[in-house]
Subunit: 137 residues, 2 copies
DNA sequence: CTATAATACCACCCGGAGGTAGCATATGCG
DNA sequence: CGCATATGCTACCTCCGGGTGGTATTATAG
């Protein structure tokens, strides 16, 4: 019932970049501000760059910047890059094939929550998170 | 967003014992019927026995039986024994200390789902699952 | 040219989940 | 009794997420 640490790091980093207003943000800055291991975050941001979520700029004063407008970056986009969306499509008892006619014993109680969570990560964007003006990132 | 394999195994085994009507069910029977590794399930059932969920009987014709009435065995009881409930109390971004006055950026969108899931595993019992009369276990 | 910062490798380490093998122990039944 | 069945327990294995360290390359601002 939790995101991978990598997904947490990715979301927190992107929210920080969004609310801090820093256009080009170095990994060092993010690592210090959010207390995330530098090398680990470096690899993670590189992957986000390869996926097109962020754009990298090398050299002095270089760093990462968010490619698209904030309201176009959905949570599902980030999670998909970092850990994949399999666990959000698959279900609580882990059956591979799953049809409503032959459900698992938990279907009635679970499928509502599953759909709600999936809808949440599909719809919530970085703009929503940045708007929530909480100090804790 | 998924149970541990061990929790899946435990829930499926208990549901099988509930719907099959077998009073004393051997690990071999469960392992064959549900396609769960024999030795692995043996250890798991042993843990459920130590926790009081099931009662064991050794020797020929031995096996496990569910200790309490079905409507008194909640999903949360099983999950607590197998994988613990930490991930259902903690939250999506993994912050240790968490108060409503200083929430994380996802609080508004997430806490509803979290509470709903927690309520589900607290309230749903084996009796509910056995009643759902689905063939797939 | 120099300092800074990303990029690309590498080789490890740790802990936990999932799974396997072997042996000891208890017990019903012929 | 003696054997087959079934639990109980310890040790070991693999895989993966998370994390550290190093080294070298490329790009860029000043
Ligand atoms: S809860 Fe429903 S959708 Fe999920 S695995 Fe079970 S039957 Fe399929
Ligand atoms: S979503 Fe709410 S309850 Fe969960 S960690 Fe964030 S602030 Fe805490």
């Amino acid at each position: 019932m939790r995101l991978f640490k990598s997904s947490e790091y990715a979301i927190r980093s992107l929210v920080y970049m969004a609310v801090s207003g820093i256009e080009v943000c170095s990994v060092k800055t993010l690592s210090d501000a959010l207390d995330i291991p530098y090398k680990f975050l470096g690899r993670l941001m590189s992957r986000l760059g390869a996926a097109g979520i962020v754009t990298s700029q090398q050299g002095k004063l270089g760093g990462y910047s968010i490619t698209r407008p904030l309201h176009e970056v959905h949570l599902a986009d980030i999670i998909d890059v970092v850990e994949g969306l399999e666990s959000y499509d698959r279900c609580i008892l882990g059956f591979e094939t799953c049809d409503d006619k032959n459900p698992c014993p938990l279907h009635d109680q679970w499928s509502g929550h599953k759909d709600g969570i999936r809808e949440m990560i599909d719809n919530v964007t970085l703009a929503d998170l940045a708007r929530s003006d909480c100090k804790r990132i």
